[in-house]
């Protein structure tokens, strides 16, 4: 899961929380929203997913499938140009139909996951990294500047404050200081918390001071500064996502609202108007990053005042509603669509699939829901359908040049080789005698049987493997087998020649010459292992086009 799909999946939660917040901000305990933001924060920070049948994506997919079966949507039209391109390459027509209908339903995020390509990823990665660094630096520099101002504060000699500190002990020692460089009270420091009061504070107004200190004390108790830093970290990581910016703004507001709520509950509801008035008079602006929030501060003060005035005792019913809301948001949005882990036996079979093309055995055998499907990625009867010839591969390269990526994908290209230079290398290899297999594998990412393959969520992978078949000195055909990567093929070739030299059937010089004729220095991208790529993808049951006319051709 890369940062972009992570961000996208969290966007749904943020949107849901924003809706809930708009509806219930003054009706539910403020802690509810803090809990919800924490869930969103976890989602944005932790790069793994918890699959659930009840996930909103799963539900939408099911509804969509049901609706589509009813409406018989002519999805093929969308992919009309693609069909032509595939036809141009001589793929069986009925297979195209099966695949195209399925492919049309791939949700956008899944396509992007599948098509992430080494070249396009690298510049995107650097762009992301640059943005994240700029934002993080902005926050750090702002923090550092403010910190310097805060440090030149002076201690306060005041009986009330000394007494207050004695009745509010905390494991971390709290310092209360004053500074005439600030206009409103604030708190900074996580492990060594300091409450900073403006120099203009009226030290005689003990009621006012008690409120201000109570508010700051709650912030310190709850490690709100740390929470704010985590939010800053998340924002820097997800700077490209406008919804994360919204989350940053509203989560910061909710930190204040929760704090206000706790103060009002401590002092009793009768005091809330006094507290609200004091807030207005202070125009209290919090935080290390005032510059960023200032645009929203006017609205937020209004929101805080309304929220304080509407604060009521938290009833059992309210807490219950809050808990239900939180858990339903977790189940609906914080999980991902059901994608059961790939069963071990499929993993095992998958490894064998590599051998299939040469041995003619079943490529993939999948047992699902009591039924067994066998999948042959190639028509073994027909050599033309099995290997690329030079002409076909040139067509493929031309497709890649048209920049019609989906068409190009359809033509059965190796995913990581959108890069033309890589394709040219493969063409050179084909011309040089290396066999490159046409291989299409279809995985269905939802729990749908073969009867609905055409309308289910599908992932398609294209890959080719490399083989080398040649005649040795005595005229026998040597088949080295099929390999995931060129390097594996070259290693096998090297082993073959080494054995020939050891057995005295060939001189070292001759072996080197023959080896170098085929092998060439490899670039790193040749080393991508299909197995690694597949294991890193969330995929579940493998459903094969075993129905319809297409199946006859494939099986």
């Amino acid at each position: 899961m890369n940062i972009f799909s992570l961000s996208l999946s969290a966007t749904y939660i943020i949107l849901a929380i924003l809706v809930v917040r708009t509806l219930f901000i003054h009706r539910l305990p403020k802690k509810t929203f803090m809990a919800l933001w924490s869930i969103a924060a976890c989602r944005l920070l932790l790069p793994f997913s918890i699959p659930s049948q009840l996930n909103i994506g799963s539900i939408v997919n099911k509804l969509y499938t049901a609706w589509q079966n009813q409406a018989a949507l002519p999805v093929e039209t969308v992919y009309a140009p693609v069909i032509n391109d595939v036809a141009a390459l001589g793929a069986p027509e009925s297979l195209q139909d099966t695949l195209i209908t399925g492919i049309a339903n791939i949700p956008f995020d899944e396509v992007t996951t599948v098509t992430t390509n080494a070249a396009s990823l690298s510049w995107l990665f650097y762009l992301w990294l640059a943005g994240a660094c700029v934002l993080a630096l902005y926050f750090l520099i702002t923090h550092w500047r403010c910190q310097n101002t805060y440090k030149i504060s002076l201690p306060i000699e005041n009986r009330f404050i000394e007494e207050w500190l004695q009745v509010h002990p905390l494991r971390r020692k709290i310092h209360i200081r004053q500074s005439d460089n600030i206009n409103a009270p604030l708190t900074y420091g996580i492990l060594k918390p300091v409450i900073l009061l403006p120099g203009s504070t009226d030290w005689q107004d003990e009621t006012g001071l008690a409120y201000v200190l109570a508010h700051e004390y709650v912030h310190i108790q709850r490690f709100d500064t740390l929470y704010k830093w985590i939010l800053v970290g998340i924002l820097s990581m997800h700077w490209f996502n406008p919804f994360v910016w919204l989350m940053y703004i509203f989560a910061n507001r909710d930190i204040e609202l929760t704090c206000d709520e706790m103060v009002v509950q401590t002092f009793g509801e009768k005091m809330k108007s006094v507290y609200a008035l004091m807030l207005i008079s202070l125009g209290e602006k919090r935080g290390i990053f005032m510059g960023l929030c200032s645009n929203f501060s006017k609205n937020s003060v209004e929101e805080r005042v309304v929220s304080i005035m509407k604060t009521k005792k938290n009833s059992v019913a309210k807490t219950l509603v809050a808990l239900i809301l939180i858990s339903s948001i977790v189940v609906l949005f914080a999980t991902t669509k059901t994608i059961s882990a790939i069963p071990l036996e499929i993993q095992e079979e998958y490894k064998e699939r590599m051998l299939f093309v040469t041995t003619g055995e079943t490529a993939l055998k999948v047992t699902y829901d009591g039924n067994t499907w066998e999948y042959y990625p190639h028509n073994t009867e027909n050599e033309d359908w099995k290997w690329y010839n030079t002409e076909e591969f040139e067509k493929l390269i031309n497709l890649a040049k048209t920049d019609n990526y989906s068409a190009y994908r359809w033509a059965g290209a190796y995913e990581a080789e959108k890069d033309l230079s890589k394709l040219e290398q493969t063409l050179a290899d084909i011309k040089n005698g290396i066999k490159v297999s046409k291989c299409k594998i279809i995985f269905v990412a939802d729990d749908i049987g073969p009867q609905s393959v055409a309308s289910s969520t599908m992932r398609c992978f294209y890959w080719y493997c490399f083989g080398y078949v040649f005649k040795d000195k005595s005229g026998n055909t040597v088949d080295l087998g099929l390999f995931e990567t060129r390097s594996a093929l070259f290693a096998a070739l090297k082993r073959y020649y080494d054995k020939e030299v050891m057995g005295g059937r060939m001189s070292q010089g001759e072996a080197d010459r023959l080896f170098n004729k085929i092998a060439h220095p490899l670039r790193n991208h040749d080393e991508v292992s299909l197995l690694d790529k597949f294991i890193n993808v969330n995929w579940s049951s493998v459903v094969l086009p075993t129905h319809g006319e297409g199946a006859d051709r494939i099986l």
Partner: protein, 117 residues
């Protein structure tokens, strides 16, 4: 010119202790107001920029360029300009009306005013 509390703190030490090195100043302020060495040096720099402190050799000896009285006058002038529309008499009457002044103190202040007239 506005002097911040932090800058006045530095001046206050210089007025009491006379000319002392920046190092000694940092030691005193660390004890008094828990400033770190860098924080004190930052404030000294600000005082240098405002021209209220000079720093000489050897060992960065700091010297207050304004007296306590001058600083008080500066602050008072600013207060009069800011709060009393530039009219000193308004400030005086405001002081005379303060509740925390004893009758004795008020009498003393009145005498000062009469003497100045």
């Amino acid at each position: 010119m506005k002097l911040f509390d932090s800058e006045l703190k530095v001046l206050d030490v210089l007025w009491r202790e006379g000319d002392i090195t920046a190092k000694r100043l940092a030691e005193i302020l660390h004890e008094q107001v828990q400033w770190s060495k860098t924080t004190t040096y930052t404030v000294i720099k600000k005082c240098l920029d405002k021209g209220v402190v000079s720093r000489g050799e050897p060992n960065f000896v700091c010297h207050a360029l304004i007296s306590r009285q001058q600083a008080q006058e500066m602050e008072t002038t600013e207060l009069i300009n800011k709060m009393y529309g530039g009219m000193p008499d308004q400030l005086v009457s405001s002081i005379l009306w303060r509740k925390d002044l004893s009758g004795e103190e008020i009498e003393r202040l009145k005498k000062i005013i009469e003497k100045l007239n």
